[in-house]
Amino acid sequence: MNEGVHVLFEPGFFSSATVHSALVVGAVVAVVTAVVGTFTVLRSQAFAGHSLGELGTTGGSAAYLGGVNPLWGFVVIAVVSGGIIESLGVRRPRLRDLTTGLVLGGGLGLAALFLYLDTTSSTTTGASVTILFGSLFTVSSNSAPVIVALSAAALGLVGLCYRMLLLGSLDTDLAAARGVPVRFVGFAYVLSLALAVSLAAATIGAVLSTALLVGPPAAALRMTKRPSTALAASAVVGVVATWVGILLAYDSYYWPPVHRGWPVSFFIVTLVFVFYVIVDLATSMRRRRQPPVRGH
């Protein structure tokens, strides 16, 4: 029995404090990103979500330079640039992507400078790799409460304007006609997006945060059209992917070629991607088997 358990869980998995905090923080972040990400997918704003995460590189590297916890850098830059993108107020998707891309380009230019100064001026090596690709195992114990608090704030924001947000995401014109303050809802959504993305950036890395934001909700929305079911399903998928990723990363310390362990973020991203492709193939096969009902 013990042998069997050890095949799956290498010794020490359940007693390690690092693993405990990674499991808790990972689950909280996965739930928040899944909930916010469902709206991101509905609003077709994956690029904006990705850009805010990646701009975290700029904030994180600036924070390193100033000796501040990178989490604050992630949060500040995401909120500021999310506000800029939203206040440019471009509704047409093509132009919106263009302005998002230009803001992202400028931000990444600054990130290049900050990371360069980080590597030349300080003794902390590997700052760029940690900021870009993250590691759940290195989330410091004093940022865990902050992460939980910010998660609660993002969830609260979504909960408060849930109905307006849903209507605004599904059909902007209809929402505006019904008296929903579309601009206000847009800003509230971007604020929650900025919070969720910076939390994901702090845990699985600035450039990889998009996996949790977009992957589970996209897969869930393929499985069901009911928004509340999709929210729940994507939260479950996100948490499972994160936990299995942590387990595999822990086990991988015993794997070749170098016994340093494979990155947690790699496992989480790969699991999310594989799950999405499976759902994609399964749903399109089912659709092919049941030809659409034709109108008369």
């Binding site: 997918v41 077709s44 704003q45 994956a46 690029f47 979500g49 990705h50 998707p93 093509r94 132009l95 992507d97 263009l98 998002t100 891309g101 230009l102 992202l104 380009g105 400028g106 931000g107 990444l108 230019g109 600054l110 990130a111 290049a112 400078l113 990371l115 360069y116 590597t119 090596t125 590997g126 760029s128 790799v129 870009l132 690709f133 890395g205 450039v207 990889l208 998009t210 996996a211 977009v214 992957g215 996209a218 393929r222 070629p257 170098v258 340093r260 362990g261 494979w262 990155p263 973020s265 790699f266 991203v269 790969t270 999310v272 991607f273 999405y276 492709v277 994609d280 399109s284």
Partner: protein, 268 residues
Amino acid sequence: MFAGYMLNTWAAASMVAVVAGVVGFFIVLRGSAFVAHAVPHGAFGGAAGASLLGVSTLYGLGVFAVGGALAIGWLGRRGRHDVVTALSLVLMLALGALFLSMSSEYSAEVFSLLFGEVLGVARSQLLPIAGLGVAALAVMAIVYRPLLMLSVMPETSEARGLRPRRLETIFMLVVAMATAMTVPVVGAFLMFSLTLGPAAAARSFTSSPAPALSLSVAIALATVWVAIALAYVTNWPVGFYVGITGLVAYGAGRAFLAWRRRRVADAP
């Protein structure tokens, strides 16, 4: 600044700028900024893999750029395009993170792949860069008219006997070629700045295709030249200057547009 060893950089950067200007024009026209970002950025993973295996980064970049472009095209036919782009991008980057964790790569080399390196262009790289550049421009010349038609009027293109999917795939492959040649010079993160900034700026100055295309190439050339000169003088990363110059060019374009609109409005 114009010493012998810098000539490689100037030559490579100029070729890169011409291709980026042409490809960027279509990217802006088609509004496919996310794909333009995802392909070069994700290709970084391939470069990391190539350095782990000890082969030229050009191969790694090429394999990942082509693979990513095809995966986005294939998955994007059935799902939401932006979601699929995002997921393919993060998968390639996650593989990059894995390769980095396995190799004992010196962090300065990783950094130069991400953000560009002025002195990073070796003489042996010039030939492949030139070859890829010529190939990319040749393909663009062949598909110029149909691609322009498809980008401006996607609805009527099928009726005109164009094959949108095949054209899109060809364009994605050109983006992949441009990626493989550009990333070693300006870095994976900022390549899309070079494609987006000049082209977006050019579009605000003129809306007719041929002048906008030439202007886009001219601004891209100016961008890399300024970036290299400044990077050489200050020793800061090229990527920083490419990103900022791209943004400045776009800002100038928008300002010009606003000024002209006001003049038109004021005219009696």
